[in-house]
């Protein structure tokens, strides 16, 4: 970004926010018809610009059309359609059950928009992670400022140019620019901030939000492990397992995904079976020649490329490479690489890899995987390939993660009924489906009371009778109350 453009951007930032506040104040975004109109317009945006989106994703990340459809365009279309079909239901107040004591009264919880929200999206799924939260913010009736990541410049440019042509400019704005723009945005007051990215920047966002007590959702990452047990002994299940592991590692943006499989845990005696089957599918899916790799994204930029290359520099780590390892600096491609038991204290085993390097860690007994995972910060997802119900139960109750997926990878992302979010270092808050609507809403409680009947014991001057009455009332001891009132019980 040129400095001139950036300073212009920052100057107009405050005007933009003032306009968003004013639009919110007028109540435009609260109407269900406005929200539906925007969601339909977003669907039109995606439908009418598929080619441009494919092109931008190819430029930024070398994503193939199938990957782009599966992980970006398809997701947004599905999410917008789902929100459209459920919006009336989501917006309706929820009734609460009241005890007899309150009679006659009505209790309900009403969702209302938070106001002016700020969404920061990341570079690896630059369309999905920008537009999916946007869908939630719009459904909940907010005005929005979206700041896409400058590390996916073609997509950022697409969004800044296209969104204003389809959506209500007074209520939904997109701002380009780099880290300085992001920094400046964080100095201002928002009613909610939704951030997808790294824990390091997550801390900065949260610290800035603290100044205004702004609620935040942080979608971070972590080292997502895949546990594989002796289902590998069954050849057909081993094949499916391997395909899903390969698909879950190199399929999403060549491993540059918060939910990509970071490393695998397997029993020693099954390691070679796993490695051989994984190698087989790497070759079928992507090819085995660095120069001719297909159907796989590239590394986003030089900085990330260097970071990944450096992970392999440690001689002990390099020595553990059993497949792949070649890199093409010019094309920013690293071939799918498998490592067998790199040292546990190496950087590759302590930092989130976020790239096409797959360590396989062997254990004497697969049950040790639980302890292994617990020795690290809570990941966003734990994958486990097993049909052992006892082991599944142990994994569920003895580990903590944003979510758990058994016998597959990645697909939990497209289940609208499942909340998507982290815990601990992998973040907090969640979205997808109705959870998106909720995360951008305030649930306002409303209690309707009538003037009659009146409970005299509520009011001073206080007496022992009133104390006894209230004690029974709070315990919902209606029988006791009757006894007290009819004189059969002493106060």
């Amino acid at each position: 970004m040129l400095p001139l453009q950036t300073s212009k951007t920052i100057a107009s930032m405050e005007e933009s926010i003032a306009e968003l506040r004013e639009t919110f104040r007028t109540g435009t975004t609260k109407s269900v018809s406005w929200r539906k109109k925007q969601l339909r317009a977003l669907l039109d945006l995606v439908n009418e610009n598929e080619d441009s989106i494919f092109h931008a994703l190819d430029q930024d990340l070398g994503k193939s059309r199938v990957e782009s459809y599966r992980d970006e365009i398809g997701i947004i279309k599905k999410s917008a359609s789902y929100s459209l079909s459920c919006l009336d239901k989501w917006m309706a107040p929820k009734k609460g059950d009241l005890p007899l004591l309150f009679f006659p009264a009505k209790a309900e919880v009403m969702p209302e928009p938070l106001g002016v929200v700020l969404i920061f999206s990341s570079w690896n799924f630059p369309i999905t992670v920008a537009l999916d939260p946007l869908i939630g913010a719009i459904s909940a009736g907010n005005t929005v400022l979206l700041k896409p990541s400058e590390l996916a410049p073609a997509c950022m440019s697409f969004l800044t140019q296209t969104i204003p042509r389809y959506l209500d400019n007074k209520a939904i704005k997109v701002i380009g620019g780099g880290a300085d723009v992001g920094k400046r945005l964080l100095e201002l007051k928002w009613d909610k901030i939704f951030f997808t990215g790294s824990p390091r920047v997550g801390r900065l966002v949260l610290t800035a939000a603290a100044k205004y007590l702004t609620p935040v959702t942080l979608e971070l990452g972590g080292k997502c492990p895949a546990i594989v047990d002796n289902t590998l002994s069954n050849p057909s299940k081993a094949k499916v397992t391997a395909k899903r592991i390969v698909g879950g590692k190199w399929g999403p943006c060549t491993g540059q995904a918060c939910i990509a499989i970071d490393y695998v845990l397997v029993e020693e005696k099954l390691a070679s079976t796993l490695i051989e089957t994984v190698k087989k599918y790497i070759k079928i899916f992507y090819g085995d020649n660095l120069k001719e790799l297909k159907s796989i994204s590239r590394i986003v930029n030089q900085q990330q490329f260097q970071r990944l290359v450096n992970l392999l520099k440690d001689p002990h780590v390099a020595a553990s490479v059993v497949y792949g390892g070649s890199v093409d600096e010019e094309k920013l491609v690293i071939e799918p690489t498998i490592l067998l038991d790199p040292p546990l204290d190496s950087e590759i085993m302590n930092e989130e890899i976020f790239g096409p390097l797959l360590p396989i860690i062997t254990l004497k007994n697969i049950e040790e995987s639980i302890e292994f995972i617990n020795s690290k910060p809570n990941p966003l997802v734990i994958y486990a390939f097993t049909e052992n119900e006892t082991f599944k139960k142990r994994i569920l109750s003895e580990t903590s993660s944003g979510s758990v997926t058994f016998n597959d990878s990645m697909v939990q992302f497209i289940c609208e009924s499942l909340p998507f979010g982290g815990v601990g270092q992998s973040g907090f808050g969640r979205y997808h489906g109705k959870y998106s609507f909720d995360t951008f809403s305030h649930e306002k409680s409303v209690l309707h009371r009538a003037f009659y009947p009146e409970l005299e014991p509520r009011y001073p001057p206080w007496t022992n009778f009133k104390l006894a009455f209230l004690r029974l009332a709070y315990a919902l001891d209606y029988f006791g109350l009757i006894l007290l009132m009819s004189g059969f019980r002493k106060s």
């Binding site: 193939s64 199938v66 459809y69 398809g74 997701i75 609460g96 009241l98 309150f102 801390r203 949260l206 610290t207 603290a210 100044k211 007590l213 609620p215 942080l218 057909s236 499916v240 698909g247 899916f285 992507y286 159907s295 599944k392 003895e398 903590s400 979510s403 758990v404 997926t405 058994f406 016998n407 697909v411 939990q412 497209i414 609208e416 009924s417 909340p419 998507f420 815990v423 270092q425 907090f428 808050g429 305030h442 306002k444 409680s445 409303v446 209690l447 309707h448 009538a450 003037f451 009146e454 509520r458 009011y459 001073p460 001057p461 206080w462 104390l467 209230l470 709070y474 315990a475 919902l476």
Partner: protein
């Protein structure tokens, strides 16, 4: 009891947290048995020590026995009982729907404890606001540190003593102290922090939490307005306003009515009714009434006096205004038509002073509330007009709203209790307490059958077509794509 100096020297926040982390890692707090044993112990603790608790609250706040027994102790007991009754249900996984795309699969959402949590409570309801969140934390299976407010020292030290006697101190600890102890606690890594108090400290809490990416619940306050329409049962409305204002710790409550807005032509009736009921409740000399809490300490007394002594405000007092500095008492005071830019109308009052703002017609009240730029914890409306009620609910944003009463929504566990904007973030009470201290883990269970080849490379046009159809949930499209796919292959 250790002296201040000794206390500071022995307090090692890091080892406190480490001990709790070890207990949590050992799985102690996760079992239903442990959770219910602690909640039962808490009930027993309250049953066997009610007079001591009432005495501590009297020491700290001159709180009338009824307020202590009912608004503090009985409320916590209700929370415990509800958690004990519903906990098994709350702990169960919730099934989630799966779609064609992931067929065959099953999905559920499994609640799990967050880990080691910190509850920082306030001085005005020092018993309730300490233990009510702790009930939620325990029900959800966490280890807890409770930091009660040092401004209510008698309750704080009683809590520390009772917790040590009744609860499992390897998992539940009460840490007493003031700023240095709180700061030391905030430097540690927590899995969640629930803070009740004011906006200024809340910012410190959130900034400290940010370093560890710790999620927070902030239960703050704000200026809770009461709109009073004409043509209502004035006596009932007045009594409910008084009960919510002076009946709640003498106005020192986050949900107390802060100020009233009423139409000009109704004001006198309202004022007369207020005066009449105030006398009925508290007698001719309210400074001597035993049914009113005192002001908590001299610094709050000075703060409230300042609000009353401001030039443009002191002439607006139309009832009360008497003060007894030695005993930290201020009589129920009503002010009429104070300027919007006075201190009493810009700060949360948190005391027994009730300004009445006049408007031409009652609908103008909404502008008064919304123009303040902040959203309060609660807002109240007394009216029989259905349209006005609807407008109120639609336009006034607050943590919670009550029509034709004040403050009682706090006692209703079916309603989430929390603020929005400056009045806070997050909510608790009832199941919301359990939820706020839980992580709801999404679990997707698939089998090895039904492997959609279309997911895997090498990618092709046919696969895109099929994927599109699958995502659209369009059966015809799926068939067409499959047929087309096989056509293009041949």
């Amino acid at each position: 009891m250790a002296s201040e100096g000794e206390k500071k020297a022995v307090f090692d926040a890091e080892s406190v947290v480490k001990e709790l982390r070890d207990s949590f890692a050992a799985g102690t707090t996760k079992s239903y048995k442990w959770r219910s044993s602690q909640l039962n112990a808490m009930l027993k603790m309250m049953e066997e020590n009610e007079p001591l608790i009432v005495a501590a609250l009297r020491d700290d706040l001159s709180k009338p026995e009824l307020e202590s027994s009912i608004y503090e102790i009985a409320m916590v007991k209700s929370s415990c009982r509800m958690a004990l009754k519903k906990m098994k249900q709350w702990m169960m996984p919730e099934k989630a729907k799966t779609s064609l795309i992931t067929f065959p699969s099953s999905a559920e959402i499994v609640p799990e404890p967050l880990g080691v949590v910190l509850v920082i409570s306030a001085w005005n309801y020092p018993f309730l606001l300490s233990l009510d969140p702790v009930v939620g934390a325990i029900a959800a299976g966490n280890a807890v540190v409770l930091k009660p407010s040092e401004i209510s020292p008698a309750t704080s030290s009683l809590l520390a003593r009772l917790a040590a006697d009744y609860l499992d101190h390897s998992c539940i600890k009460v840490i007493e102290g003031a700023v240095p102890e709180t700061a030391a606690l905030l430097e540690q890594k927590w899995d969640k922090i629930l803070y009740t108090g004011n906006g200024r400290i809340a910012r410190t809490v959130m900034a400290a939490a940010a370093k560890h990416l710790t999620p927070v619940v902030l239960e703050l306050g704000g200026k809770c307005p009461v709109i009073v329409d004409s043509d209502i049962n004035l006596q009932v409305a007045t009594r409910r306003i008084i009960a919510g204002k002076w009946g709640c710790n003498n106005g020192q409550a986050c949900v107390s009515p802060d100020y009233i807005i009423t139409p000009k032509n109704y004001a006198q009736k309202l004022i007369d009714s207020l005066k009449c009921e105030l006398e009925r409740f508290y007698g001719k000399n309210p400074l001597e009434s035993k049914d009113l809490s005192r002001i908590v300490n001299s610094s709050h007394f000075a703060r409230l006096s300042k609000l009353l002594d401001e030039d443009k405000v002191s002439s607006k007092i139309i009832h009360g205004g008497e003060r007894d500095k030695a005993n930290l008492k201020i009589a129920p005071t009503i002010l009429l038509d104070v300027p919007q830019d006075s201190l009493i109308m810009t700060e949360e009052i948190f005391g027994p002073l009730l300004p009445i703002i006049l408007v031409d017609k009652v609908e103008d009240s909404f502008d008064v509330i919304n123009s303040s730029g902040t959203r309060p914890l609660a807002a109240y409306l007394f009216t029989n007009d259905k349209k006005l009620k609807k407008k109120f609910i639609a336009t006034v944003s607050a943590g919670g709203l009550v029509v034709n009463d004040t403050t009682v929504h706090l006692a209703e566990p079916a309603l989430p209790f929390g603020g929005v904007g400056d009045s806070g973030t997050g909510a608790y009470h009832g199941k919301f307490s359990f939820d706020t201290f839980s992580h709801k883990k999404a679990v997707l269970c698939r089998g090895f059958a039904g492997d959609a080849f279309v997911r895997y490379p090498p990618y092709s046009r046919g696969k895109i077509r099929l994927l599109k159809a699958l995502f659209d949930g369009n059966f015809l499209g799926i068939i067409r794509a499959l047929v087309g796919w096989s056509n293009s292959k041949s």
